[in-house]
């Protein structure tokens, strides 16, 4: 049930929206939903890894913003697009790794602290470096990654599918992914079983930072601009997608599949409500309600499951 709950939710919301708006269930609109969800989906994937370890990463939105600015500036300086992309991902991963090292080496009490710090540092640097102005008119071979299509499918959507497939294998089929679940399931037991917990945590935060930079490339490409406010508040959207997707804040639970559905639920809601002319302010209200409702339904499900298992 934990597995299919988010999917059923997505289908129910889509059914209602297609009933309310004739434009919702059209090929163009659905492609649009996928494209709009792709940046949040990339951030949410990193956030998922962190949340499985019972952590939280508040810095992904700001790392995205800083990466946007850096990649745009490098492109403007004439650096070839592939080099810019590789450099941006490396910088994002390095910032994420810094979160992990601050957490594990300085023994900060909770990941909230280093990532809150990084959230401010990265955002501040994005403004300092850019002088507060957007950097527009990026080269076409770069824009391809955010605005291009292959056989009608937007490139960022293909990117999401590819990255999600890789991380699905990473989490479910590799020893490293196993360690990530073990740490979230019981950190103490993971330590006492010889898992190098500090190293794994550092890796998880580095991956989260790197994925935020991948999101930055998709976003800058789509908007043809690197602007310092990019990804403002995106960390909370990514957390929402992960939680709606059935992961537990207490760690040890959560799937790549569920997180994808969570990101799509958020995208579908935003898109559908816009089609229905609901103002962005009311959209916030709806999304807030959905987040709480999703977790509440999960709590109810677990309660019944516990009751069932007691009766067994």
């Amino acid at each position: 049930m934990r597995r299919f709950g988010p999917l059923l939710g997505l289908l129910a919301i889509s059914a209602i929206l297609s009933f309310l708006s004739p434009y919702f269930l059209t090929f163009d609109n659905l492609i649009n939903v996928f494209r709009q969800s792709s940046v949040n989906a990339l951030l949410a994937l990193g956030q998922l890894l962190v949340i499985i370890t019972a952590g939280i990463d508040l810095s992904v939105g700001s790392i995205l913003g800083l990466s946007c600015v850096l990649v745009a500036m490098m492109l403007k300086a004439g650096v070839p697009a592939p080099v810019c992309i590789a450099a941006a991902i490396a910088i994002g991963a390095a910032l994420g790794m810094t979160n992990g090292l601050l957490l594990t080496k300085l023994r900060l009490p909770h990941p909230f602290i280093p990532t809150l710090g990084m959230m401010n540092v990265a955002r501040g640097l994005a403004f300092v470096i850019s002088g507060g102005f957007p950097i527009s008119e990026l080269p076409n071979d770069f824009r391809f990654w955010g605005a291009g299509t292959i056989a009608y499918i937007p490139v960022p959507v293909i990117l999401v599918v590819a990255v999600y497939a890789i991380f699905h294998i990473f989490l479910t089929r590799t020893t490293l992914g196993r360690d990530v679940y073990a740490i979230g399931g019981n950190k103490q037991a993971a330590i006492f079983s010889g898992i190098p917990v500090d190293r794994r945590l550092t890796m998880v935060y580095a991956l989260s930072g790197g994925l935020a930079a991948v999101g930055a490339i998709a976003l800058a490409g789509r908007l043809n601009s690197g602007f310092p406010l990019a990804g403002d508040g995106a960390e909370l959207d990514s957390i929402a997608a992960v939680i709606i997707g059935g992961a537990s804040f207490f760690g040890g639970l959560g799937t790549v599949w569920g997180t994808l559905i969570g990101a799509l639920i958020m995208g579908v809601l935003r898109n559908g409500l816009t089609l229905l002319n609901v103002s962005p302010n009311w959209q916030k209200v709806v999304i807030g309600v959905v987040i709480v409702a999703a977790v509440w339904i999960d709590v109810l499900r677990q309660r019944t499951r516990k009751r069932e298992s007691v009766h067994k």
Binding site: T175, Y181, N186, A189, S193, P196, G252
Partner: protein
Amino acid sequence: MDSILRMEHITKSFSGITVLDDVSFDVCAGEVHALIGENGAGKSTLMKIVTGGYQADSGRVFWKGRPVEIKTPHQAHELGINIVHQELMLVPQLSIGENVFLGRHLVGSGTLRWVKWGDINEQASSLLKGLGHPLDPRRQVGELSIAEQQLVEIARALAFNAELIIMDEPTSPLSEHETKRLFQTILQLKERDVGVVYISHRLKEIHQVSDRVTVLRDGRHVVTRPIKETTIENLVRHMVGREISEQFSERRSRKPGEEALRVEGLTASGKFSDISFSVRQGEIVGLAGLVGAGRTELVETLFGASEAEAGKVYLDGQLVRIKTPTDAVRHRLALVADDRKAKGLVLGASVRFNVALAAPRKSARYGIFLNASREREVAWQLTRELHLKTAGVEQQVMYLSGGGQQKVVLAKWLSAESKVFLLDEPTRGIDVGSKAEIYTFVRRLADSGVAILLVSSELEEILHLADRILVMHRGRITGELPREGATEELIMQLATGGAVH
């Protein structure tokens, strides 16, 4: 002398297991009454009945001659009964004065009921001075030593007009000097006509501080006597309950192999010091001692979970540096920790997941890609070997019994192909059937050439399994006994700080 507290024919059982059976106990004003017994003898349960933690199933409690029913800790406080816990119950961020009056601050009579800090500090100060320790009541409790914090707890009890104070193992965290000062404080309490129940494993100290002693064993009252009429030897005999220890026959004499683990001068201050011993392949070495002697700290330090300040560890004759559990597992060391739920298992995950926890690379392709069918096979085979009853290897371990969970922990280390096993209370909280299976398994493990260090507070278990027995007392190894000639009494004497004659 009249008793302030009298308990008559107290019986208490939990889910069919009797933990107190017709126990009577009393304390007089100004008396120190020691309460002793092995772990699990019923001391804590009896005191929880006095302090409102549990209700007795039958029997009566009298407070100053009047029958009372103490239903809550609050009610116990109101009567004047206080307990100074093993783990101190203070708020470290607050001052001494605030802690002493916590929960009932002295307040003014106006509508605003301002807290009267002046009065609080003055009264706290005079209470502490009365106990012979003038501390500044404005100091933060978190900065104080354990001994000083204990004092604050005692002052707190007096501020609540305590007439009976229960001290549960008060000296276990204290140095010898601090212990002496605590005894002076206890003398002060006696002069104020406060009754003291003194729970301790340290028989020498009991002789120094108490007036009477009561021994419990297996939930029964064994004896109550003035302390002057007892000796350490006969108290031990009362605690253990047998004159001669049982003989054990079925351990065949194996030839132990090469030395697998050697420890030299291992020290971690405040926990244990200058620990040296060795374990050979195929040998089971028991590590006996009382709770708090430093045994868990020792095995966890060996395993790299906490740091040692000095000392050397050799595995198969090679000097090794184990700084983290990851190093330990790489050196094929296994720790079956004292708290399997906290340190051994991911409860929400499957048996298969947990069995592979310590060495997922063993079953993986190219050391990185998990091989579920291989994992399933390994888990299935090990659970069969250990007679684990499950609904299959995909069952979540949280639904297994305590014994079942412990078998999963053992399977985890077997699948990691560990060569040295550190077992810390391996049968704690486990039903009798699983216990016997674990004993058989531990012996088979030793027969296969694995070196085993067995920490246990159950003397029978140690005598039953160990080839050699080390005894720890207050962080030091106080003796080594060969299997032949080791008795519960000898172990208890070493474990309580008495010398072996």
